[in-house]
Symmetry: C2
Subunit: 344 residues, 2 copies
């Protein structure tokens, strides 16, 4: 590293917090009365319901700083939480950020992490209103809680799907997972090489999906404009298969999705080919897509079909029929909620 | 360990969450519409402002499982967060709990931790509404976010003290810190001894203050009944000295407190004597008291003096006079915000 690095001990805990938050003004929305600087943040939600979600990210489990830049990590850590609020058909408004920092991190490292978090906040109109900072004995700990809001009659839960509803998904699937595989491959290839250049050409999309995902604010706005309130919704963090089974379980339905309808980007397909991996498995179980999976009533078929970035991939059924995918050759394959952690 | 221990891998992440939350009904207050089980919890705060606070606790930094039982740890982790809400003159209503769990913990361990959290929730009328559970490479990580509420005109910040206000503190100080010293002493004494019995007789109070602190809900209620809204308030987690300086800085005042007025329990005094430590230093800088430090206008002197469990320890001054303690012999000693972490 060429740039000047400042040890965190030079500032101390209070000094670090002051340094990180000194030009932090809460101004991104009108739901924040008071941000960082007291025992609590103060929020104003008299006109709507409050949504709360939280995520804990640990170094060595959720991220590998060998190939994840700290700014990207901060951005992604925030996005992941925004995504949970959108998945309820709400809008994220505030986050709190708690960090556990081990000795190998400098003030500049934490500034980089924070700059990613703040960038995400600015883009999505969210205020950073509080947190906790402490030393850690082992690696970086990031705990983010997101608070948002929604009108009571517009909140979408996981349990509202009916057995004739259409199953829809935004964007495309499996790309973040294939991006991770690529990053892991290049990490291994780089071992012991001083002047290593990873091969990412033509694979920018899957790398970006892994390192800098976005939350689907645009889809929530699009649905709202079209007058559609999904009957159920969830964001895809653990893989389509797992999330769809959550909805089916809580809605007491079964489902049928069609392999040929699952949206997959061509870079994802090429990467799977190159690594000799099953593409559909990656799309079904590869996590971290942060796309929205939702159901709408059958009669809204024509409205939904016209929307961009949304694909109808199947339909709900009675719970007695179970959860299955119809493959290209017409076979029924039972869905399994293995989740992405168990893939590797 | 004699009792049956179940490996967490047997249940998996989803299984563990389901196991821990299966009989968890949100019922402790009317501000929770939906708890665990969706992408977000849903809360209802149309009649008041929302308060949010968060704390990150890491094994090896904030707690030592050699002498801290997991149930106590859970209780304390919750209490610490409730305390922040009371410090704004609010009422805690919900918490989210995120856990990072390393391999040496079993399902029964996490049940014990959870039972402490849930006990605290029941006693204080708080709902456990969400969280995240993940594996950790190194020790236990506990991240709790607390949400509460208060009427807008009753919220007390750190910055409202006037230069003639009285400085008040609840309970007594330094006991948790001396309890920690005792536990550390016995831990060292126990090394290599199979049948070790720690000497805690006559020291139960300071042990309890360290292992099972309470948040001062009662003080908030007492002040409310007496019609007192403090001009500023903070809870004492890092030590009286440090917290008082936060209030002075944010209120732009100085202060004078009197050594002879600082409330100290006799067990704290005996322990300090035994360990040959400075008692006043422990009371000023020993952390984790979770008492409330607040200021009230001078004209409320007689009302405050009558309240039980509250002591007037000094008064605010103009900021030009700085922050100082008047010792028993009449000397002015400048206050320093060293915080408890730097004591040991």
């Amino acid at each position: 590293m060429d740039e000047k690095q400042t040890e965190i001990a030079q500032l101390g805990e209070f000094g670090l917090i002051e340094h990180l938050t000194k030009d932090l003004h809460v101004h991104n929305n009108e739901f924040t009365l008071k941000g960082v600087g007291d025992d609590c943040a103060v929020l104003e939600y008299s006109e709507s319901e409050v949504l709360v979600s939280t995520d804990l990210l640990l170094e060595g489990i959720h991220f590998d700083l060998t190939y994840v830049p700290l700014k990207h990590l901060g951005y992604k850590a925030a996005i992941v939480n925004f995504s949970d609020i959108y998945a309820m058909n709400g809008t994220p408004r505030q986050i709190t950020v708690s960090l556990g920092i081990s000795k190998r991190f400098t003030v500049e490292h934490i500034e980089a992490l924070y700059s990613g978090i703040r960038l995400a906040c600015e883009i999505y109109g969210v205020d950073l209103v509080g947190g906790d900072t402490t030393s850690s004995r082992s690696g970086l700990v990031i705990s983010i809680t997101c608070i948002g809001n929604a009108q009571k009659d517009k909140i979408v839960y996981r349990n509202g799907a009916k057995d004739t509803d259409l199953i829809c998904v935004s964007g495309d699937l499996g790309a973040a997972y294939m991006g991770l595989q690529l990053l892991e491959r290049e990490k291994i290839a780089s071992v012991g090489q001083a002047d290593f250049h990873p091969e990412f050409e033509g694979k920018e999309y899957i790398i970006e999906r892994q390192l800098k995902p976005e939350a689907r604010k645009d889809i929530i706005e699009e649905l709202d404009k079209a007058g559609i309130i999904p009957t159920s919704m969830i964001d895809i963090s653990d893989g389509l298969s797992s999330e769809l089974m959550h909805i089916c379980k809580q809605s007491n339905t079964g489902c049928r999705i069609y392999e040929e309808r699952i949206p997959i980007d061509y870079q994802t397909a090429i990467m799977a080919e190159e690594l000799n991996m099953n593409l559909v498995t990656a799309a079904l179980n590869g996590g971290e897509d942060y796309e929205l999976l939702f159901t709408v009533p059958l009669h809204q078929h024509d409205t939904v079909e016209k929307l961009s970035g949304i694909k109808i991939i199947g339909h709900m059924t009675g719970s007695n029929l179970g959860c299955a995918m119809i493959t290209r050759d017409g076979t029924e394959m039972e869905l399994k909620a293995q989740g992405w952690n168990h893939l590797s």
